[in-house]
């Protein structure tokens, strides 16, 4: 009905379908809306008010609070009274020598996590798709979805059982290595393998979740698509990799865009719960978010940490816009998530 208006909110159309506020379905409601509104009814205002107020305070408030990044903030003077500092806070961060390392760690870990969880999700969905029988399939699906429910803290305790046993003992992995007479490793003092350990943890936690999303996409592939394959005598594997996988690209693209938008945000929950304040592992695991958290906690340096936060938000925003545009160019028909 109003194509130009439609276009102004175009980034929205990518989202849950929620972005698509304005397609066919709303047209009937639109017709009678103005009268019921102007006449008597403030009901909608009442319904939206709580969420709007909460968003203003807890989402938009902190955005405004980013002015702290340009201040020499101190608690006594508050946000409004603290003296201005220009770009000094940014300078302090970028010249501190930590910036390069933590930004690299953040990007590297997030790329690893994203690639690994997407890959695991696709493979698991393909394999789940082979399983016959409703009950069996649902059972497997439920089992691999379980890890999604536990908090990073619990994951951390699980991991300790494998990598560091009680009372400084070796843990299960070392017991296992010992069985083959391989040298044991003191995992929590060895930064090298941690990016991979954390990737395994992410796959463990999110593999099932991702597979549900991809399996839903597989389910919506019309059956006729496979008939030609069946007639030509394609094997199940060929059908999975030649027919299903290409059809999963749009779903993967959207998850990728979402992931890229968050690529500059370190996975604070998982990393801090697992690594904590274990300084020996910082070389490979310290990301922007854990750095900011520690800086705030130990030095109480509001200005620099806010500057990093602002930098993160801006880069994240730019990345998500670029990713959205690229994604729309290549797969505009997609609307999952």
């Amino acid at each position: 009905m109003e194509p130009p208006e439609h276009d102004t909110t175009s980034p929205l159309r990518l989202r849950t379908g929620g972005g698509e506020t304005d397609t066919a379905r709303q047209t009937p409601a639109k017709a009678k809306a103005p009268r019921s509104w102007r006449g008597r009814d403030y009901g909608l205002v009442i319904l939206a008010a709580p969420a709007v107020i909460l968003l203003v305070i807890f989402s938009y408030g902190p955005m405004a609070g980013l002015v702290v990044a340009f201040q020499d903030f101190n608690v006594a003077d508050g946000v409004f009274g603290s003296p201005w500092a220009g770009f000094k806070n940014f300078e302090f961060f970028f010249t501190s020598g930590n910036a390069g390392r933590i930004m690299w760690n953040t990007l590297f870990l997030n790329v690893l996590f994203l690639a690994a969880t997407l890959g695991a999700g696709v493979v698991l969905a393909l394999m789940l798709n082979e399983i016959r029988g409703r009950v069996t399939k649902r059972f497997f699906q439920s089992v691999i979805f379980v890890p999604y429910f536990v908090s990073p803290i619990v994951v951390s305790i699980f991991l300790q059982a494998f990598l560091a046993g009680p009372g400084g003992r070796g843990g299960l992995v070392n017991d296992f290595l010992g069985m083959f007479a391989l040298p044991e490793l003191s995992w929590y003092t060895e930064p090298g393998p941690w990016p991979w350990i954390l990737t395994v943890v992410k796959v463990w936690q999110l593999g099932g979740y991702m597979s549900v999303i991809f399996l839903a996409a597989i389910t919506s592939i019309p059956e006729e698509v496979y008939e030609a394959g069946v007639i030509d005598g394609a094997s199940r594997a060929q059908m999975a990799f030649r027919i299903t996988v290409p059809l999963l690209k749009p779903t993967a693209a959207i998850l990728l865009v979402l992931g890229v938008g968050r690529i500059f945000y370190g996975d604070f929950g998982t990393i801090y719960a697992i690594v904590g304040d274990n300084g020996t592992l910082f070389a490979t695991t310290d990301v922007i978010d854990t750095y900011v958290f520690r800086a705030l906690r130990t030095f109480g340096d509001f200005g620099t940490t806010a500057a990093i936060g602002l930098f993160q938000s801006v880069v994240g925003f730019v990345l998500v816009v670029i990713a959205t545009l690229v994604q729309r160019r290549y797969a505009r028909e997609t609307s999952i998530l």
Binding site: G18, L44, P50, L126, V150, Y226, F293, F302, G316
Partner: protein, 312 residues
Amino acid sequence: MTATETAPIRTTPPSAAAARPHDARRRRRHRPEPFTIASYLGVGAFGLVCLIPFWMVIAGSLTAESVLSQRGYSFWPDPFSVDAYATIFAGSRVWLSYGATIFITVVGTAIAVASTSGIAWVIARGLPWLSKPLAVFTYIPMLFTGGLVPMYILITQVLQLRNSWFAVILPLVIAPFLVFVQVSFFRGTPQEILDAARIDGAGELRVFFQIVLPLSKPVIAVIALFYAVTFWNEWFHALLFISEPAKYPLQLVLQNLITSVANAADLGTTTAAPVYAIRLAMTVITIGPILLAYPFAQRYFVKGLTLGASKG
């Protein structure tokens, strides 16, 4: 709607076109293909990997401390001991933190579901000058956040919520993603019913509470579960804002046990506590309710994740 049925395998409705796939299916039943076998093995192996840590921790929590610290973890609790649980439940801390977690989860989920449903309906309502701006307004926080520092200043300086459970609850009560999940469900509300109600003189609030909400129980269950798990597992805001040990939620108590096993002694009443077993028992206590609710909840989670997909 289930995610468990899949196109290539699902029994097709009887039709001419379905004849051939049917033959193929029958043939497969006799001789499964290598890829199918590999799939069963792969999913089975991943499933085991998913469950083993849970079993390790449960078994460990039921093992006597002396054995645990000497031999490490084993797959069977031998000798069996409930000392760790006895110690934990003898102290008052676990009850307090259970109370805290339940308060945060129940109150948080209630506020979250109420406010999310409200704004989602107004967005789904489709009024061009109200719904669209609200959708953008809800979408922006997904792209751009203020980050840790302003939130910290807001909670501690402006709102003075330090050591209040609301410092944990309020920043998390609107998840834009869930708002949009709910919007896409609300859009499916049959227009005829709404029209009929309006003609009968029902106002916006009446339509929402008496028609839309009763028709939306499935999505409300989904939203509530997502929020409930978020609140149950929340520890970051608790770590930042709650410093009185008596107000710690479960996850924070557990986090303290990671930082130092010595903290385990605080949980019980005696100092000679089985610290390692306590850490594991506390883990079991923390995840217990989620695992008990899981068989019921899992269906809804899959549904929630699938909601967006089926629209495509």
